[in-house]
Amino acid sequence: MTAPSDQPRATMSLSPATLQGLEARAAAVDESDVTATQADDVDLAITVRDLSAWYGARRVIRDVSMDIRANAITAIIGPSGSGKSTLLRCLDRMHEVVPGARSSGTVSYQGVDIYDPRIEPAAVRRTIGMVFQQPNPFPTMSIYDNVAAPARFNGLVKGKAAQDELVERCLRQAALWDEVKDKLGHGGTSLSGGQQQRLCIARTLALQPKVLLMDEPCSALDPIATLQVEELMSTLKADYTIIIVTHNMQQASRVSDVTAFFNMGEDRAGYLVESDATRTLFTNPKNQLTEDYVSGRFG
């Protein structure tokens, strides 16, 4: 908003992640990165290059390049309209589901471009799972069927026993098992908001994805449910790469390892201002805009 027009490019060059090419990543010895992470186990899950996205004629994100570390929680923060959700939706090809939506640039997962025409969107979404802002369990299905649904869509398990096992495992992982084990046949929408959201997380886990995208997963939840979901994320980190969009800076600082700050440019398209280790970004941001935002001066 207050950014000069050349701001985006300039700030992006400040982002160490952006400067790093694939070779640099392989070496993983960049000075600034050492401070941010333990350099030796830096393992990148997703690399985004020059990603832009449109709804119809309106560009909603512009030239985003960033790297996302595996088995870490990356938080995406920024004011509303900065394209955070759109970026997330571009990472599992959900953006293109909206009529008139399109994108350009590349998103690679383990070196494979997810927009490669030979790859089905459904296959991408199976590997990169998504949890939505609003809990959206299938209203006509039981709790059990909700969790079993992705396995059925994708033929992931064979037989009733294996399916039972998967449902229980995912509900346990989502810290919901004890609350629902006696009423698995009840409707998914009979649960409270926080339980519904954990049900949706369990459902996404049942996909057995490698990456979890979470689009403001706590915005519809009360503080206690929020805390439960945050704890859940920390335990899931060991097995999953997690990217969470949040408008709540406290949440970002509590749960994430890396934080990326997005802002809305003068052309009303969102862009990446900077991304860094969460502690660094919150205590010692390189960009004035970031500092203003994290200190609550705007947004």
Binding site: M94, R126, T204
Partner: protein, 326 residues
């Protein structure tokens, strides 16, 4: 929505004369509106009552139940029973629904889930245009093209399945309940698919995206979200289609074969309520014959009010439910 009528009067700053004129204008306006609304309500009410009065001699002679369940229709003996036509109405409507509902549901899914966004509107208009073709034109085509074209099919079914099940048996003169059902199917596809389309289009986006984000295909979207969530609306669409099929007149009259008796096979000629009225009315010279036809009209009136009322009730419950549900 009706709140526009409850907007509090704004303070009026204009002068007395203008104010008075505005006020009398409003009164006049309101009086005109009320008169027209009341007038049309009364006129329509009177017309309905007149119809029942015209039919009353028949009801008096045979009794309401007797008239409805009577299976003999013999004007030359002054015997009138509606059952054969009620049967024909339901049979042809049922055939129409069996054909039209799956087709309409698939079209609705095509236009809400599958077709590229920018093709949806034009494809939808093409289906809507089916409803714009006048009934008599369908009848003309049905009589001269469809009926002869379907005869080999009817003969094939009657010759095989019909040997075992008399309901599908011969003879197959061409004009029949079945032919009427097929032409009705064509005519109700637009209404059933339009309502279904509206229902499917109101599927919450989040639900649809949940399936896709879980690696589901468009078919998974349809079977896990669109169809189950829309089932009440789908039912309303089916009932609405039934109401339309029951009352369709001219096209049916031209292909149903016109027989006062209950046909044993779906390939027999028969009559629906609407088609017997249309066919016999101008030659109704026997005693009580016109009155009996009007009585059939009142039966049809009651049936379609019931069916359409059911459709509206289902639809209201469906929209009410979706508002509170998600």
């Amino acid at each position: 929505m009706t709140q526009s009528a409850e907007v509090p009067e704004p303070p009026r700053l204009d002068l007395g004369g203008l104010r008075r004129r505005g006020w009398t204008g409003d009164l006049t306006f309101r009086a005109i509106l009320s008169t027209l609304t009341l007038g049309i309500t009364v006129v329509l009410g009177v017309m309905m009552v007149e119809s029942f009065i015209s039919a009353s001699p028949v009801y008096q002679k045979f009794g309401i139940i007797g008239f409805i369940t009577g299976s003999t229709w013999a004007p030359s003996f002054t015997v009138y029973g509606a059952w054969a036509f009620i049967y024909g109405t339901f049979l042809t409507s049922l055939i129409a629904l069996v054909i039209a509902v799956p087709v309409s549901v698939l079209i609705a899914l095509l236009l809400t889930e599958l077709a590229p966004a920018r093709l949806r509107a034009p494809l939808g208009i093409a289906v809507d245009l089916l409803a714009a073709v006048p009934s008599v034109v369908y009848g003309l085509w049905g009589l001269l093209v469809l009926v002869p074209a379907m005869r080999p099919l009817e003969q094939a079914i009657a010759g095989t399945l019909g040997r075992v099940v008399p309901f599908f048996g011969p003879p197959t003169p061409g004009s029949s309940y079945f032919a009427a059902g097929v032409i009705l199917a064509v005519m109700i596809v637009p209404i059933v698919s339009a309502v279904t389309r509206e229902v499917f289009a109101s599927t919450p986006r989040l639900q649809r995206e949940a399936v896709l984000a879980l690696g589901g295909t468009r078919w998974d979207v349809a079977r896990t979200v669109t169809l189950p969530i829309g089932r009440a609306g789908l039912l309303a669409a089916v009932v609405l289609g039934l109401g339309r099929a029951m009352g369709e007149t001219i096209a049916v009259t031209m292909v149903i074969g016109n027989s006062d008796n209950i046909g044993k096979s779906i390939f027999s000629p028969g009559f629906t309520l609407a088609s017997v009225i249309a066919n016999e009315f101008n030659e109704a010279t026997e005693t009580l014959h016109p009155e009996a036809l009007i009585a059939l009209g009142t039966v049809l009136l009651v049936m379609s009010v019931l069916v359409n009322g059911a459709a509206i009730a289902i639809r209201n419950r469906f929209t009410g439910g979706s508002r509170s549900g998600f």
